[in-house]
């Protein structure tokens, strides 16, 4: 049978080196919440100490009972209620303080991560998978939150009890205390072992389950292929073998649970039984009173559950440390685009448009492999330049240098005579509109999407942009027009429709430089022509770079740049190039021969039904 490797799920908890260091760093998250931390720790410790008063009061009452002082027991009951009320108040305050603290921490960690991420350059995102980043900002953050907010204060409370109760036990009767001291390490041992053995298997089970989900998802998305090749039975068999893996792990978890968990009740029960036997002798010899014995009994009950969850707490601490390692790794990622503290002003926009110059620019994604190789190019104000060349020759990369998605390794790029690196990144990007071949639209209304780069745009601005991008013909047919929600959670648009909206979005910004990166590839050629002419109507003062395959698109450019291997092979007008450049001729002819006959992506009826129009 074919073994298909499912995408590896995000590693849940890698063993962390230098755990203590990152643990200490983790504690810095408490800084803004010192007050809540204090309340939660102090209240936690206080109520843990107070909790030991209750067995004491019970013991007193029992002695009163034994001595026949029945009129004293109502007083004991009232004492107990007073302590209990105080505990309740402390416990409620602790919970609220811990809640405010942990939620606040969660929010601040998450926001810090997010704003860190939005500030990172594309060198960083090129290396990352969205799913993994997502899981860091969600599950790793809540892992840390749970530990810092609850785990840590629980640990304080439990440690307090584990410290105070044995002392009380010793003061009551050292012989009885010995019985308990024998039991304590056994339970701790069981608890730690249980946790050590079961957690890795549980994680494995989760990972195997992720494989099941991945397989299910893939074959459901690819249902058509599965059916086309008649592979349904084999896919079911594969699914079964994947779920068998999960079952095996889960059964292992249950087996481990079956080994350890019964001990959790058995050992304390045995201890209580032993206490009765030893206690009977101590009472008989007059070393302790019945009341003291009963108090002892109930003191022991106070520490059984802290003992049991020691293993679990240790495990949580480990996982939180591993999570925080990953968070810090992310926060320490320093792939930011450097910015000047005192950026230069962009020269005022001239009526003619902006000048863009590439001077001896070299750039590569990996060291020693330049994608752009010592390239120089000057684009005149208001000019429309077409970039052509085979896949991988560096057209898109050249476009990415303009909004500084990347910085050149050598050479410089100048906008209206100013080095891009001397401008504020914000202002630079505001003056550049870039449209990708597969543009991304957000799950928002069309109007919101179009306003993305310019939130202050008026309805008229939106309308103008829609008309120029030739998007009106389908937008106006939608029942809610520009208020229709699109994107992942909205109406599914065809590639051509998305491209048109993306062009409109760039136009709303009214950029000095417009970069169309194969932005009309999925648009019908007639529509494309209309877009082009609309752009040139309103584009007098704009400089435009068009990356394209189609001769008709290329023909509209003032000049054509033929690229190859990161260099410029030739620059000229269509007529010049067709006369002198062999590559251009070939590209032009072959493209003409193979040009898509009938474009605009198929949007099949059932697909439209699937998404049900509007979500």
């Amino acid at each position: 049978m074919l073994t298909r490797v499912s995408p590896a799920p995000v590693q849940q908890a890698a063993p962390s080196d230098g755990g203590w260091k990152s643990f200490r760093r983790l504690l810095t998250f408490f800084a803004p919440f010192k007050r809540q931390l204090a309340v939660s720790v102090i209240a936690g410790v206080a109520l843990s100490v107070l909790a030991t008063r209750i067995p004491h009061i019970i013991g007193n009452a029992v002695d009163h009972f034994r001595e026949g002082q029945f009129d004293a027991t109502p007083g004991d009951a009232i004492d107990l209620l007073q302590v209990a009320a105080l505990i309740a108040v402390l416990s409620a305050s602790r919970r609220i303080a811990a809640g405010v603290m942990s939620l606040g921490m969660e929010q601040s960690i998450r926001e810090r991560l997010f704003s860190h991420l939005t500030g990172l350059g594309f060198r960083f995102f090129d290396k990352q998978q969205t799913g993994q980043l997502l899981s860091r900002v969600t599950s790793d953050v809540s892992q840390v939150r749970f530990f810092l907010g609850y785990g840590l204060t629980y640990s304080f409370m439990h440690l307090t009890k584990l410290f105070v109760v044995p002392i009380i036990l010793l003061t009551i009767d050292w012989q009885l205390a010995l019985v308990v001291f024998v039991m304590m390490p056994i339970i701790v041992f069981v608890s730690v072992r249980y946790s050590r053995r079961s957690h890795p298997v549980m994680r494995e089970a989760q990972q195997k389950l992720a494989h099941v989900t991945a397989h299910g998802e893939e074959t459901i998305v690819g249902a058509r292929v599965v059916r086309s090749f008649g592979q349904e039975d084999r896919e079911v068999a594969r699914f079964r073998s994947l779920t068998d893996d999960v079952v095996e792990r889960e059964r292992e978890v249950m087996r481990i649970q079956g080994t350890f968990k019964p001990l959790y009740t058995f050992i304390p029960n045995l201890t209580l039984a032993a206490l009765l036997i030893v206690g009977a002798q101590r009472i008989d010899s007059g070393a302790i009173s019945t009341g003291e014995f009963v108090e002892f009994f109930f003191q022991v009950l106070l520490i059984t559950s802290p003992l049991r969850i020691i293993g679990n707490l240790l495990n949580r601490a480990q996982r939180a440390t591993a999570s925080s390692d990953r968070l810090f790794e992310l926060l320490d990622a320093d792939d930011r685009i450097p910015q000047r503290d005192d950026p230069l002003e962009l020269p005022p926009r001239s009526g003619a448009g902006s000048r863009l110059q590439f001077e001896d620019v070299t750039f590569g994604y990996r060291d020693g492999r330049p994608v752009i190789d010592d390239l120089s190019l000057e684009i005149q104000p208001g000019e429309t330049i077409a970039l052509i060349g085979a896949t991988g020759c560096g057209k898109t990369t050249l476009g990415s240098l303009v909004p500084r998605f990347y910085d050149p390794e050598h050479g410089r790029v100048l906008l209206d005579g100013v080095d891009l690196r001397d401008l504020s990144l914000h202002e630079l990007r505001r003056s550049i509109g870039i449209v990708d071949q597969e543009p991304f639209l957000f799950s928002a209304t069309i109007a919101d999407n179009l306003r993305f780069g310019n939130p202050d745009a008026t309805d008229d601005d939106i309308r103008t942009a829609i008309d120029a991008a030739q998007a009106g013909e389908f937008v106006d047919k939608l029942p809610n027009g520009v208020e229709t929600v699109v994107g992942e959670r909205g109406l599914t648009l065809s590639g051509g429709q998305r491209q048109r909206l993306a062009i409109a979005r760039a136009l709303v910004v009214d950029p000095r430089i417009l970069i169309l990166d194969d932005a009309t590839a999925s648009v019908d050629s007639q529509v494309e022509e209309r877009i082009s002419s609309a752009l040139s109507d309103i584009g007098g003062q704009r400089t435009t770079i068009v990356i394209a395959h189609r001769p008709s698109t290329i023909a509209l450019a003032d000049r054509v740049v033929v690229m190859g291997q990161g260099r410029i092979e030739d620059v000229g007008t269509h007529d010049e190039l067709i006369a002198r450049n062999a590559t251009y001729q070939l590209v032009h002819e072959q493209r003409a021969a193979r040009r898509e006959f009938l474009l605009d992506e198929e949007q099949e009826q059932d697909d439209t039904e699937r998404t049900g129009g509007l979500a």
Binding site: L2, S6, I57, I58, F65, T73, D76, L80, L81, A84, S91, S93, R95, I96, G99, L103, G104, Q107, E111, F114, S115, L117, T118, L209, G216, E218, I220, V221, R227, S228, F229, F239, V247, R251, G258, F266, N269, L270, L276, I283, V294, P403, F405, R429, R430, F440, G495, A521, S522, P551, E589, A593, R594, R595, E596, F597, L598, E602, E609, R610
Partner: protein, 618 residues
């Protein structure tokens, strides 16, 4: 930690439950999965009851040890025999409890199997569905049936039912012991019971709502995040970082506020429960004293009552939790059964056959088709005859009916009227499985599975040898680029083939179809634009692929269309023109000629294109 469980157990209560008899029928289906493991299940019930009795018994035994051993300090000293006797019994009971708990785990081990069977059956059932099923249901929804809903049910099967037994049992036994020890004191203690009940119900009600809101808010945070990460290029290109930070902060603040509500509720409820338990203890001390005064209770009774109070509230809390997970599991069962009860719309007829030899002659006979009963016709009386071995190009505007034509041919749907015949046999009389295997279907964007290049090529013919794989790849011209990949045929292509380019994916999909060597080929040509060399390779691959078999190509490229034996021009659900390129292009005023005219562009004469075409094809 309790909070986590609560959050998980209250999901999707909002779905109205179906009628009772339907519910019962569905539960019966569930029971059907348990039946093979009936022995373990019965064992689990017995041990559950046993554990419950043991837990309730131990304080009772301690009471006897205290009172009959005279630990209460009455004159006469301690009776060590009595203490030893009762403690010995308690130890035996504790041991029985220990063994029972271990045996009880056996069920948990089996319950995993039960849930797994259900999950696999569900998956198999989904796999029997036709494509119409997937066009009615969003992928995410179908997947969540397999994951979230099965998990919700798993909780019920695994422990839910036994938790019900255990807690009702515990409640009954504890009450029984309390009343048998001292009915007066039991009555007093039970005063707190209704308060606890009402408090728990109120907490359950409000916290369910609060947790739902929290989950919804969290989902919004995740969605915002996912979208920002996906659209990071746009976000940065439009310099919207600060705005995004502010929006993210707002989304997070909403989440924090919603979650804070659950914290207020917990801060009121859990300390309240503890306080109430202390009130119970106080009642025992106070009323115990009063009753002791008249000699009605002994110290052992007081101690036993206090021990019982330690666990008195657990059953109520757990039962209310059970109620939540029960509702969630029923809602999940409902959704799962909804899928299980959906019969595939296209099924083999009882006497469906397969053919030994396929020539590949296809006949469409007055075919009319609509996707849904009340939908519009997408094909109107389409009739055509295709000779064996012909290559047919389907041409037409978006939505003209090309895809529907292909879907009927591959029998992903049946015609509403009329019939389609393969070698004279109505498709409805043929086995679906066989039919699909006789057709190589190449979908538009060359969907690949995560796995190696080889895995993908052998997808339709798992037993193919390496030589056959290479031969197929070679035939369609994929071998060269595969050889250049990092690990050759063992290169992982990534999720949905994402590590390959669009053109490479297409070529692998060609090789995959080539390896199956089907008598009929159905191909949806990709529309995405690729560079010139790739396109040349694709059209060469395509030519190799269609050779010697009946082929239907939803065509987008002129070379493909020109290479076809016949072109079917489809417009508005009808075949409006049929013939070769040369025939159609000269049809003055014809649809195809019109399309061809716009295609050649305004600035280039027909002749020059023709000559260039000729030169580039040769």
């Amino acid at each position: 930690m309790t909070n986590d469980r609560d959050a998980a157990s209250v999901s999707s209560n909002a779905v109205p439950l179906p009628a009772r008899d339907l519910q019962r029928r569905r539960l019966r289906v569930l029971v059907g999965y348990v039946r093979p493991h009936l022995r373990e299940c019965i064992l689990a019930i017995i041990t559950t009851v046993l554990i419950t009795i043991c837990v309730a018994l131990i304080p009772f035994l301690f009471k006897h040890a205290i009172d009959e051993g005279n630990l209460g300090g009455r004159p006469g000293g301690v009776d060590f025999d009595a203490v030893s006797f009762w403690v010995a019994i308690a130890v035996v009971v504790a041991f029985i409890d220990f063994v029972a708990e271990r045996l009880n785990q056996r069920w948990s081990i089996w319950s995993v199997r039960v849930v797994n069977d259900l999950r696999t059956d569900l998956y198999a059932h989904i796999n029997r569905q036709g494509l119409d099923f997937f066009s009615r249901q969003r992928t995410g929804v179908v997947i969540s049936r397999l994951t979230n809903d099965v998990e919700a049910l798993a909780q019920l099967v695994n422990e839910g039912v036994f938790m019900l037994f255990a807690n009702v049992g515990l409640l009954v036994f504890i009450e029984a012991f309390l009343f048998s020890l001292s009915w007066e004191l039991a009555l007093w203690v039970n005063l707190i019971f209704p308060i606890m009940l009402i408090g728990t119900m109120a907490f359950r009600y409000y916290s369910t709502r609060a947790y739902r809101r929290t989950r919804e808010r969290m989902a919004l945070v995740t969605a915002y995040l996912a979208e920002s990460l996906g659209g990071m290029r746009v976000l940065q290109a439009f310099a919207a970082e600060e705005r995004a930070d502010a929006e993210f902060e707002e989304t997070n603040t909403h989440y924090r506020r919603a979650n804070m509500e659950t914290i207020w509720l917990s801060a009121a409820y859990f300390p309240g429960v503890e306080l109430l338990a202390s009130v119970g203890t106080a009642i025992v001390l106070w009323q115990g004293g009063q009753l002791g005064d008249v000699g009605a209770v002994e110290i052992g009774v007081i101690v036993a009552f206090l021990l019982y109070l330690e666990n008195f509230f657990d059953p109520i809390q757990q039962l209310s939790q059970f109620y939540g997970s029960f509702l969630a599991a029923m809602a999940a069962l409902d959704k799962i059964m909804g899928v299980m009860e959906t019969e595939p719309t296209i099924r083999d007829s009882a006497d469906a056959t397969s053919l030994d030899q396929v020539r590949g002659e296809v006949q469409f006979d007055d075919v009319t088709f609509r996707y849904t009963d009340d939908g519009p016709d997408v094909l109107h009386g389409v009739s055509t005859h295709v000779e064996a071995g012909q290559t047919i190009a389907l041409v037409g505007h978006t939505g003209a009916g090309k895809s529907s034509f292909v879907k009927l041919l591959t029998r992903f749907y049946d015609p509403t009227r009329g019939s389609i015949r393969l070698d004279g046999h109505d498709l409805r009389d043929l086995e679906q499985h066989w039919l699909r295997r006789s057709m190589g279907i190449v979908p538009q964007e060359g969907f690949l599975f995560a796995g190696s290049v080889r895995d993908n090529i052998v997808y339709g013919a798992p037993d193919a040898s390496d030589e056959q794989v290479v031969a197929a790849a070679n035939a369609v011209g994929a071998h060269v680029f595969i050889g250049e990949l990092e690990d050759g045929y063992d290169t992982q292509v990534g999720e949905r083939g994402s590590r390959l380019s669009a053109g490479q994916r297409q070529l692998v999909a060609f090789a995959r179809a080539m390896l199956v060597d089907p008598p009929i080929l159905v191909l949806d040509e990709a529309t995405s634009s690729v560079d010139v060399e790739t396109e040349l390779r694709l059209s060469d691959g395509l030519r190799a692929l269609v050779a010697g078999r009946t082929s239907f190509i939803v065509a987008h490229r002129l070379t493909t269309i020109r290479g076809a034996d016949r072109i079917l021009v489809i417009d508005d659900g009808r075949i409006v023109e049929a013939g070769t390129h040369d025939e159609l292009v000269n049809l003055s005023g014809g649809f195809y000629a019109g399309l061809y005219g716009t295609w050649t562009g305004p600035d280039e004469g027909d002749a020059s294109v023709e000559s260039r075409l000729a030169s580039s094809i040769d």
